[in-house]
Symmetry: C3
Subunit: 274 residues, 3 copies
Amino acid sequence: MFEKILDNVKAKTPLVHSITNYVTVNDCANILLACGGSPIMADDEKEVEDITSICNATVINIGTLNEKTVRAMIKAGKKANELSHVVVLDPVGAGASALRTETTFELLDNIKFSVIRGNISEIKTLARGRGTTKGVDADVRDAVTEDNLEEAISFAKKMSKKTGAVIAITGAIDLVADSNKAYVIRNGHPLMSKITGSGCMLTEVIAAYCAANPENLLDATAAAVCAMGLCGETAYNKMVENKGGTSTFRTYLIDAMSRMNAETLREGIKIESR
Amino acid sequence: MFEKILDNVKAKTPLVHSITNYVTVNDCANILLACGGSPIMADDEKEVEDITSICNATVINIGTLNEKTVRAMIKAGKKANELSHVVVLDPVGAGASALRTETTFELLDNIKFSVIRGNISEIKTLARGRGTTKGVDADVRDAVTEDNLEEAISFAKKMSKKTGAVIAITGAIDLVADSNKAYVIRNGHPLMSKITGSGCMLTEVIAAYCAANPENLLDATAAAVCAMGLCGETAYNKMVENKGGTSTFRTYLIDAMSRMNAETLREGIKIESR
Amino acid sequence: MFEKILDNVKAKTPLVHSITNYVTVNDCANILLACGGSPIMADDEKEVEDITSICNATVINIGTLNEKTVRAMIKAGKKANELSHVVVLDPVGAGASALRTETTFELLDNIKFSVIRGNISEIKTLARGRGTTKGVDADVRDAVTEDNLEEAISFAKKMSKKTGAVIAITGAIDLVADSNKAYVIRNGHPLMSKITGSGCMLTEVIAAYCAANPENLLDATAAAVCAMGLCGETAYNKMVENKGGTSTFRTYLIDAMSRMNAETLREGIKIESR
């Protein structure tokens, strides 16, 4: 169902400006190239507006925050809004520290995001509001499961209405929602949580897919989530076949994205709309 | 002999806060996940205490120092001490510049470390004291060999007594010592020095192992050193089999850690106590 | 023809100080080790002179600029000049933002570079001078092709005369020139542009090769460009054989460098002098 979305990415080679963390930045750049986009990383205040201006989308990822990059994020996001570019937020660790929670709200106050992608714990921090922090234990309690699926879908739609952004909540079950419609996606593999960067990489793919399909952010985001999940499945199978471990899995994950096409996606997709 | 130590890591999934360098940070995060731990990287002063508080151990690695992260390191280390968390120091390049040497001593003055891991040249800089620098040539002259082993063991024990930390001196022969007892470990492969990050990754594994076994830091550190060395051997053999080079070796090294278990370790360990 | 150059690298293990970007820094360190060199990354103003002093060459790469690292770059470059070390500039994205363009000129004003490596678009920014920026579209229009080869060679020689540096312009066809002589190199594979860091890695290899062969910077640079291109070809073939994608390609690229020797280079080199 998402053939056109993938074709547009290949045709347009969207250029994505990312202000992201130094842990997974190399993976982010490589997955962007693998999925048919092109990366530029730049986080100095003095150049982020120039860089955003020549790009098609902007990613803001708070994985390794510091004071200076926050100012750069806001400048880049405002410029992207001015130019009606796609802007994607990855609130990594929102809730884990006061700084991350506060920064997330500062970003939401200043920038209109096209898509927000996080795990359920991070998105719940957005719902709880300023001044809330919690331990990481919350992550386990907060998983989206078949049991709480209805409630989670309704939560995702509500958060989309509140923020004006497409909301992607990823985990064992992935949800992609705007205020009216949600997709439930069951692609992916648990091993994706045993490498760093699965989430950050997905955020980049979402930005590339949305930049090439700005008229349909919900479907573009869902297609990216399906594609990434399917890459996880492909990578896992190939890893087992080659008796590899988690680093081989990471290599095969990016490999799979570089080989993804409309046919592979159509055959492997596990999605329903709600 | 270290079965229980590995079992504890798998059972507890220790969360490790690392303030580390941007060269090998991705490898550090991936090896932590591979060995059964979980990573958080955060280095802004404003959040390090929050992050340390929700973690089980803290790693301080001075590989790419800058003024701001030093202040963050001290805050994180002090908070970790307050909470009686495991704190591991990796004094990368101590002795190579005045900044690194001075910073190492500033960290030692402010933080009580559970374990310090470095090569012999870095640990000797700790022994020589403030204000000493030297060229990198010293590295070669300073190797631990069968010829100077007794002397090196005695040096490691003395350094442990002086710092109150378990000392891990890694190289062709690895030493792990507290003030009373030392392990001599002969696992590992020379190719580990032909990729960046072998040392940084080991430091992370030590932190995870110690966090899960806080009652026995000496054995937990030795187990981590053995496990990493054994992974190097496994990776080398698989690399040769697949006619690969150093990057394949790096992939297989992390793979091996993700497949390590008590049985593999028991069969492959090359350790003696002195 | 470059056997002696490679032999010197293996014999001398040149230590390279890099002030580079956080996107590809890990690849830079690993390719340095793979090619027979040794890496140190340090970018704090307070230590760059110490670090440069114990190294054999310095790389300055502006891929993720910020205010503080610019000051460190200038200090390191000046110290390297003082010590007559090889200094290599990689003006990543010069022309894409005012900051990058201005910084490039600030570096050129303060430091005498041995080699400057960039794509044609970046090197043209150097020719156009201060205050010029442009969109990334320029990259496509500016490719070196068989049709504009004469003109491009003459441009490269002129830029070498102007800057006093060997100029390496890399793309589908690579040019390496001083003011009198140019090499045209046709090694390489298009997939090299589908991973991040091909250019940054090449810059590091150039630094290692030049540091070990300071009496012949033109040939050392050309040898590095040939070696890297040949590694791309080798990696592509092995990737196809193993049905891999771009991440496997990246692994095999670094692998190939770690297995490169004079014989492989002699057999695979595609070079002519003009």
